[in-house]
Assembly symmetry: C2
DNA sequence: GGCATAAGGTATGACGGAGAACCATTGCTT
DNA sequence: AAGCAATGGTTCTCCGTCATACCTTATGCC
């Protein structure tokens, strides 16, 4: 009785260790199962991803980190009030405060009480430049996935943007472009990000904009580990101008093409630092 | 004391009704806040989406519905065992069973006990054809977003696919294409979906594949409400062949272009039924 | 026929997180 | 100087969910 390992519940992973990610569902072909029509080669993995990436705390942390990494709230800027932020993220204020506590401990934000108080972003003590840090992050992030997905989203956004540009959109785009020109070196990444986010937003697809925000945050995390060369920056600026020009000209094909080239540059740079 | 409405907690929405979606964050410009650098026009909405779309139950339900809508588990097919499925979705078996209970009540799946038992997909009692149903779904789904995002993902996938195609990939693609040719009318949508999913998967970006799966599930939900015309189907088939051919030829530009055209067709069809 | 096995069905205790109410602090307005 | 309002800080309770264990049913194999 004691030695017998019962076919216990809720942990088949113990008996079939690596069956989850790579293998999946061979049992679908078990005898007695009528396989109607075709039996597709497509895997279920794409859909059967975890409903929640972690606990609510971790997901919220990740999302607020995105906010900071994208520079949507600049150093010195204020995050939304706790009550509002909690509501937007659909988490309780208690949980949110645990997240903010972590960020405070990391000296990334600072809280001030009283009216017109709030949670303020501190001038980045984060972003520790260094290639060992890059290696650490590459271990977590699927770089190829990030780069490819980014290119698809950016090119698509540029194309859509060119097709359905409004007058107001054109104005915002021009403003964002000129902001990158006037940016000091330490603020360049932020302005660059904002320009691209503007493009994504003007694509007219909320899903696209949201996905781009996510992938760009990941990208920034990687880019923060490599030096910002003035040479690259100038090249980048020319490409930005060309993309915006194509969009304003309603030339979708050119916009997509230019954007792909632009993304290819960043991708090559990053891949260079990885090899 | 009794009449005084205290500035209560956790529901600022009551005092500022519509401030969440449209407005957001004007308070960022409040006095006393030093706005470093630029003050971007970009909104925080893209990042500050809910950490969880609903409770775990709802999200899991949505995900399993995706599985069915994509036809990844065909009618008559078996879902993964409860223990396994729960683990993949990272929810408890109890919660998962609540989800399955709902699907059983809707006569979408059926559970059988005993060895080689499981949860089986019933031949669609769902997909209630009819334009009033379409109207109901359009009220929930942002159709423009879906169509645009889809086009971007599909075109991007086709391009990436053409650039980095392996021999095995080519084989899978050819197989998926020929499966659409041999499909009976009631199975066509499923084979069509599988072909596109294969392309997305072969793009080499897991994120892209996952996002496509989601958007395609939404799209299928809409398409199930409109009739499947043989005329459109034949046209579709020619385009499929052209896309696959371009991919096999490693002609990324042509693949993207053809795919955009293909998506444009579906989009026009759907928009037609909506106007 | 009997047993092992794999699947669904059921019950329970513990815990994380949501929601609500309250307190404490600050600065603007009067 | 007083009051108000908006913010962060704290505490409480309750519900959903998880983990675990066990029961029941059906099938294949010996």
């Amino acid at each position: 009785m004691a030695t017998r390992r019962r076919a216990d519940d809720t942990r088949p992973a113990a008996t079939q260790p690596a069956a989850r990610v790579g293998g999946g569902l061979e049992a679908l072909g078990a005898p007695g199962v009528r396989e109607a029509a075709g039996g597709g080669p497509a895997r279920l993995d794409a859909v059967l991803r975890p409903v929640r990436a972690g606990n609510g705390f971790e997901e919220a942390l990740e999302q607020i980190l995105q906010l900071l990494r994208l520079g949507l709230v600049p150093p010195g800027g204020r995050l939304p009030a706790e009550r509002e932020l909690a509501q937007q993220l659909r988490i309780s204020r208690v949980t949110l405060r645990e997240v903010l506590k972590v960020l405070q401990d990391q000296h990334m934000v600072e809280s001030r009480r009283g009216r017109y108080g709030g949670t303020f972003v501190l001038p980045r003590a984060f972003a520790p430049d260094g290639s060992d840090e890059l290696a650490r992050r590459v271990a977590v992030v699927d770089v190829e996935d990030t780069l490819r997905f980014r290119e698809v989203l950016e090119a698509g956004a540029a194309g859509l943007c060119a097709e359905g540009l409004t007058g107001e959109g054109g104005g915002r785009l021009r403003a964002a472009l000129s902001a990158t020109r006037g940016a000091r070196l330490e603020d360049y990444r932020r302005q660059d990000t904002l320009l691209h986010l503007t493009l994504a937003e003007l694509s007219g697809s909320r899903s696209l904009a949201a996905q781009y925000a996510g992938v760009r945050a990941t990208l920034n995390e990687l880019l923060d580990c490599i030096p910002l060369l003035v040479r690259n920056l100038e090249h980048s600026q020319h490409q930005h101008a060309a993309v915006v020009e194509a969009v304003l000209d309603r030339d979708a094909d050119a916009a997509r093409e230019m954007m792909r080239e632009h993304c290819g540059g960043t991708a090559a740079l990053l891949r260079g630092f990885l090899s």
